[in-house]
Subunit: 252 residues, 2 copies
DNA sequence: CAAGGCTGGATTGGATACAATCATTGTGTA
DNA sequence: TACACAATGATTGTATCCAATCCAGCCTTG
């Protein structure tokens, strides 16, 4: 209801914003990739004006870095920023889990199961990126169940930035404990165990943080790496076009 | 240093963003006030392009509501949203206080004292709005001392929105316990008492929430009240001009 | 041969013009 | 008189245009 009534006033740049956001969440755009306004404008068939609005919105989300006269590029969180993002999640998400456990209805368990299954399926299909995407979706759905709009917004931003962190600093793409943790969480949530859900969530997020490879080294000098890995920026246009095609043709 | 190095790439709309933000924090613009692009553009001597960017940034901060083809207006948090904002603060700020207590240096105490003094002074000068502004500034400085950029960003947004909540739902403009709480907090922080600072902060924020008048009644029908109290929207231009004058002439 | 300056292309920043939409007022009619 | 409807003015949404800036490659020069 809440989201539905707002749909009528959807800004036109929202589509571009969501398209790039989706590409980030699915790790189809690498951190540091250059986002040229004209290219995106051609992909979506609009003028640069609308693209600029979308890029500024993404910059407010912390996903895009805008440098004056130098354009937009996908953000590259520093190791310290990465740690801070997961520390913030470790504080907020247990509270969200507790509230979700308190308000859960039996019908809500299905949504969580669907997300877990999707993650499980993608994992076994040897598609770790999609698995990570659905993993974040699981956390997002819990936030939706908590019925707390402000917490949900805060977490949404943190989850988006977590995708960047994961593509930069994720150590092992094959982690089984992830699914275990999600299953245990879903069980605690469904049984209304507030304290247990909060504890499991805190441990889960702390485990995620511990699995990051946050070395003090500069992962690679910002400008240099972008020059060394131009694949992302070259294929940015194609990635967005593919994303659009998927949206138009939801029969995935 | 951190902010200084970023200054070179300051976007041009930042000035307008900060101007409107300052007007909100000082409660010179009332929630619900209409923000007409052309007026703001004339005040700042720029075109609507830059103003639109600033308004979109403010919308991402939750301070401005953008409705398609209906323009921008200062947000009016619902009572539920107001409660959620302070619940989020009650969760985040104790953690910030604990981290600040851990990292405090003796020289940092001065900044906190200055903020408390300014609040105290404004309060005794019978200027409750300015007192509220400095009260928020006190919380902001603690976040800066905590040395955690993500928490600081999250709190910054919550503090800005709190200003809207306070101007809508604040019950008693004459609260002495505020200063008491801030003094006790500053003492705990200066002495490095993590647990005490966290506890005091949580109690303080919960007291703030308890002092809000969150009745289920619609505070007033949105359109009607705007018509009954057109002062805010009419003087929006003047408010911004006055704000600019103050910035240009800092000898307040 | 290396270092520094310069020019050309590409890209962004901002202003302006025009189209689209909304709110308000006025008018005609039942 | 009250309601429906159309015209008008105001405001926003988007595209396009031009100036400002940056980047890369080349050239000059010590």
């Amino acid at each position: 209801m809440d989201a539905g009534s707002q749909k009528r006033s959807a800004p036109s740049w929202q589509m571009i914003h969501d398209g790039i956001l989706d590409a980030v969440l699915r790790q189809r755009i690498e951190p540091g990739a250059k986002l040229v306004e004209e290219e995106i404008a051609q992909v979506y068939g609009v003028s640069r004006t609308v693209v600029r609005a979308a890029l500024q919105a993404l910059a407010r989300d912390g996903l895009v870095i805008l440098q004056r006269n130098k354009g937009a590029s996908i953000a590259r969180p520093t190791p310290e920023e990465a740690r801070e993002i997961f520390e913030a999640r470790a504080l907020i998400e247990p509270e969200i889990a507790a509230r979700a456990a308190r308000r859960m209805k039996p019908s809500d368990a299905a949504a969580l199961s669907a997300s877990i299954d999707a993650e499980h399926h993608a994992f076994h299909a040897d598609n770790p990126r999609e698995a990570v995407f659905h993993s974040a979706d699981f956390h997002r759905r819990i936030a939706a169940l908590a019925g707390h709009a402000v917490f949900a917004e805060l977490l949404n931003e943190l989850l988006s930035r977590s995708s960047l962190v994961i593509s930069l600093y994720w150590r092992r793409p094959a982690t089984l404990c992830d699914n275990e943790a999600h299953l245990a969480l879903a069980t605690a949530l469904s049984s209304g165990d507030e304290a247990g859900a909060a504890r499991l969530m805190r441990e889960h997020v702390e485990a995620l943080l511990a699995d990051l490879d946050l070395l003090p080294r500069r992962h690679s000098a910002s400008g240099l790496s972008a020059a060394l890995l131009p694949a992302a920026s070259q294929s940015c246009k194609d990635i967005l076009q593919a994303t659009i095609a998927e949206i138009d043709d939801p029969g995935e």
